[in-house]
């Protein structure tokens, strides 16, 4: 019994040592931008949850759609009610991995090019995405930035016929998160 307890403690120690350090934030930023003849659309969300496991490269983002803030109140209303239907689909999530995590020294200050792939779920539709980003390690924190376009049609976000063609079908997404260690 005593031997079993010692073995269990040793196994737990080995397991915890092999687990990567986890970095998280709850105040990450996602912006989106689209320029088109009818309307320039710009919004920001400062309540983005992000978590990174430096051992596995696993990366998670969670966003509440109602937290996107627009300059114009009417645009914010249309975004929530007609486009992303945030009452039905309140969250957007990304579950993925830094493909080249093994090449990054998360303990050494520096800037690294990264490739991230995973599943992005928006408006109830899940799509595989593979994007490039930049990751900076500094003062025990990890800052990640990525800019990439998405197509509204990929996520079944419908633009009303009357204004189709006047609102851009492609939206540029900018993700910026600064994560701190939780281990």
């Amino acid at each position: 019994m005593k031997l079993n307890s010692i073995l269990l403690i040793v196994m737990l120690l080995i397991a915890s040592a092999s687990m990567g350090q986890k970095y998280v934030t709850k105040t990450g930023t996602i912006k989106f931008y689209s320029d088109a003849p009818l309307e320039k659309i710009e919004a920001i969300n400062n309540q983005v949850n992000a978590a990174l496991d430096t051992e596995t490269g696993d990366l998670v983002f969670r966003v509440l759609m109602k937290s996107f803030i627009f300059e114009k109140a009417l645009m914010q209303e249309h975004f929530n009610e007609n486009y992303v239907e945030s009452d039905i689909y309140p969250n957007a999530t990304f579950l993925g991995k830094i493909i080249n995590a093994g090449e990054i020294d998360f303990k050494k200050a520096g800037t690294y090019k990264t490739q991230v792939e995973g599943k992005l779920t928006l408006h109830g539709v899940t799509k595989s995405v593979k994007e490039n980003g930049t990751l900076s390690v500094s003062d025990g924190k990890i800052m990640a930035i990525s800019v990439f376009p998405i197509l509204l049609s990929d996520y079944e976000v419908k633009i009303p016929g009357a204004i189709a063609g006047k609102i851009s079908e492609s939206i540029d997404i900018t993700v910026e998160v600064t994560m701190s260690s939780v281990n």
């Binding site: 998280v24 709850k26 105040t27 400062n46 109602k66 009417l74 009452d87 969250n91």
Partner: protein, 144 residues
């Protein structure tokens, strides 16, 4: 002839006024004044959090997208990117602390400094929903 001219001028003027009203009050209508907006519910921080945990669709229908007033024991205040957040920690999970997070309006930045962890605080804010770790309230004002 004169009547016709007057009629045309009248129609054009009415059109311009209508367009102006649409521009001012619909297209360019201001954001909700979150400070003066009436609350639809008043409840304890723990009750709000556990209602999302136990039945998210019901909690969404009651609180998400609405101004609510909550009261509870403050755990801490966080400042990030010039945003101040009052945090009520009720659990631990994948993202560390979990509970209710209230992003304050700039007018409440000074007020929150009067409170420390362990103090009872009353906060009014717009509930953005539950992101599987925290219930988020935004545009919040301190009421005590």
């Amino acid at each position: 002839m004169k009547i016709r001219v007057k009629l045309v001028i009248g129609i054009v003027l009415s059109g311009i006024i209508a367009l102006l009203l649409v521009y001012l009050f619909i297209y360019n209508k201001p954001h909700t004044n979150y400070e003066t907006e009436e609350v639809t519910s008043q409840l304890a921080v723990k009750e709000l959090y556990h209602s999302f945990l136990s039945n998210k669709p019901l909690a969404d229908s009651l609180y998400t997208g609405k101004m609510i007033l909550i009261e509870g024991i403050l755990t801490k205040t966080e400042t990030a990117d010039s945003m101040v957040t009052a945090v009520f920690v009720l659990d631990q999970g994948m993202f560390g602390d979990e509970g209710v997070r209230c992003v304050l309006l700039p007018k409440s930045y000074d007020l929150i400094t009067r409170f420390k962890g362990g103090d009872r605080v009353k906060i009014k804010g717009f509930c953005s929903g539950y992101n599987d770790t925290d219930v988020i309230l935004e545009h919040c004002s301190i009421l005590n």
